[in-house]
């Protein structure tokens, strides 16, 4: 068996490396909250953007790698242009290195999430155009109506570019001269941006479930399309739950409130189906993919519940601007997006369960739960004192200190767990055989899926939600 590099493998390996580096800077940043001045060479003003950008890079690189990997198998034809995919990867990595260098040199764009100088957004947008071109010319070879995941990927890919452009509108005086407009448009873009990467990640989840189970009906069911529509509507109109306190027009926030509440449908459906979810979870214990998909279901449930609660303005009054928002953001990006992407990584690599992976899995999930609970606790205390008392900021921070220490300690556990998973993930990918014959011998990745009977429970499509990953 020979192992060759493909663009998909390059994206996924780069994504895993970005995750490990991003988690390391996250650990540094969390301890800088506990011990001021620790790791002085990388102050918090640098460690935070390094952490955030690298973790976002992990999500995009691995999701895009998954699209490049699965798309030819779905449409039954090769990628339109492998060369363009390589070029896409080269621009992404080159720009990523330039962004890291700019942070280390203290050159910032100073925007939440995109803290790099705006000029570095140009190559990102250019490479994304290559991706759009390659995706649509390949996807158009699909015979018959698109399954829901192709719609999700197409939506995610196009809306990333739209929202990325929108996030840069601040460069025009019409937007910067008015801070209400600037903040509103900024978070409008970010809300839709996370919605767009969720479309990529949840589309991948659906593909992995389909290919792992051989059940092609799920992604073609009415349920799948209804939940995709719900997620899409939230992507387009649900963003203003981030900015209830910003004094924009009332209709903007009321509309977002109404749209956000539609996601109770998804939560109700999860509760209704919890028994079959548990049953399928037990069946999936034999593979890392199954384990991660089951873990993602639990994280979707927890984070969707939290997201729905903090989307109610009367509750948001207390939780906004507190660590509960961080719990939501990290719970979604780590708990949901990362677990789904690990499911995809281990499906692509075909890694079998090892002691190291089993330990990594439990350490990752256990630490994340503690991490998440500490943030929720810190947020509750901070929200209470911020709204109902006149205590000084530093006094409030002192009161939440035990939670922040717990958060920092569990962050170390999370990093160790992630390292174990990333190490084995990269090892398995580097040993991944490349030809179809080798693949068939390596593990049962099907190129021609069996047409299963129409027994659908729709479990795979819970992840159509956009509320579940706000920034």
């Amino acid at each position: 068996m020979k192992s060759e590099w493909t663009p998909a493998k390059g994206f996924v390996v780069a994504g895993l490396v970005a995750l490990l580096c991003g988690a390391l800077f996250g650990v540094i940043g969390s301890w800088q909250h506990v011990i001021p001045g620790v790791v002085d060479a990388i102050p918090f003003v640098k460690s935070r953007p390094l952490h955030v950008s690298l973790v976002i890079a992990w999500i995009f690189l691995t999701a895009v790698g998954g699209v490049y990997h699965y798309l030819p198998k779905i449409v039954g034809a090769p990628l339109h242009s492998t060369r363009l995919a390589w070029l896409h990867l080269a621009i992404f990595i080159g720009t990523g290195m330039a962004i890291m260098a700019s942070y280390f040199m203290g050159r910032f764009g100073g925007r939440e999430y995109w803290e790099f100088p705006p000029v570095l957004g140009i190559p990102i947008a250019a490479s994304w155009l290559l991706f759009i071109y390659n995706f649509f010319l390949t996807a158009n070879k699909h015979k018959g109506p698109w399954p829901a995941y192709l719609w999700m990927w197409a939506t995610g890919i196009v809306f990333f570019l739209i929202t990325f452009a929108e996030a840069n509108l601040y460069l025009f005086p019409h937007f910067t001269g008015n801070m209400v407009r600037e903040l509103t448009v900024q978070w409008k873009a970010y809300g839709a941006l996370t919605g767009s990467w969720n479309m990529l990640v949840y589309g991948t989840a659906m593909v992995v479930m389909e290919r792992a189970s051989g059940n092609t009906a799920i992604a073609r069911s009415k349920t799948a399309f209804l939940l995709f529509g719900l997620g899409f509507t939230n992507l387009l109109f649900g963003w203003a739950h981030h900015i209830y306190p910003v004094p924009s027009a009332l209709w903007i926030r009321v509309l977002a409130y109404a749209i956000s509440m539609t996601e109770w449908i998804i939560l109700a459906r999860m509760i209704q189906q919890w028994r079959s979810t548990l049953e399928e979870g037990k069946q999936g214990q034999g593979s890392m993919t199954g384990r991660f998909l089951f873990a993602s279901e639990i994280w979707v449930f927890l984070n969707l519940g939290l997201a729905l609660l903090i989307s109610v303005p009367a509750i948001n009054l207390f939780t906004h601007g507190t660590h509960i928002t961080v719990a939501h953001a990290m719970g979604s990006t780590i708990g949901i997006n990362t677990t789904i992407l690990f499911a995809s990584v281990f499906f692509i690599s075909g890694a079998s369960i090892t002691k190291n992976l089993r330990m990594g899995f439990w350490l990752f999930n256990g630490s994340l739960l503690l991490f998440w609970l500490c943030l929720v606790g810190a947020g509750m205390v901070k929200g209470y004192y911020t709204v109902l008392s006149d205590l000084h900021f530093q006094v409030i921070m002192e009161r939440i200190r035990p939670f922040i220490v717990g958060f920092a300690i569990s962050g170390v556990g999370l990093f160790v767990g992630l390292s174990m998973l990333v190490w084995d993930g990269i090892q398995a990918l580097l040993n991944l055989p490349n030809s179809l014959e080798d693949l068939a011998a390596h593990h049962a990745i099907d190129t021609e899926l069996p047409r299963s009977p129409a027994s659908v429970n729709g479990r795979a499509v819970h992840q159509g939600s956009s509320t579940t990953a706000r920034p």
Partner: protein, 159 residues
Amino acid sequence: MSFRDEVQVGSKDPSGFGVHRLRFVYFGLIGLFIAQSGLTYTTGTEVPKESALLSEQARRGEALYREFNCTACHQFYGLGGYMGPDLTNVISTEGKGPVYAKAFILHGSGRMPALGVRDEQADDLVAFLEAVAATGTYPVRNMDLTAWGTYREMHTDEE
């Protein structure tokens, strides 16, 4: 609640929606999104008073705010980092104000590093913070909740 799945694998449109209807709904939503964006960029985000608009000096201050990546630690309206306090009303809060803010900018304190800016740059940053303070109040402390889960004045703090 339950969905009825009508799946006929192998048919032209197993979802049962109809491709044309699906496209109509999809692009209709995008049309509404464009309309909503237009309103958000204009009338939906107008500020009530002139002082809330950024002057030339305040714009220079905003550029510095970005250059020093202040958002890593600070927030406006609860949006931003968590290391330092929210700065929305640092200028208008009793006991604080322009002199207080300028002292922090020039000399730092505790976890906040001195930015190493010139005196006139500190003035630019203060002008920026003054404009932000004129846009409204945060945190909202009006507890006048409604049965709908909203609060009556979702962005003011009028007593």
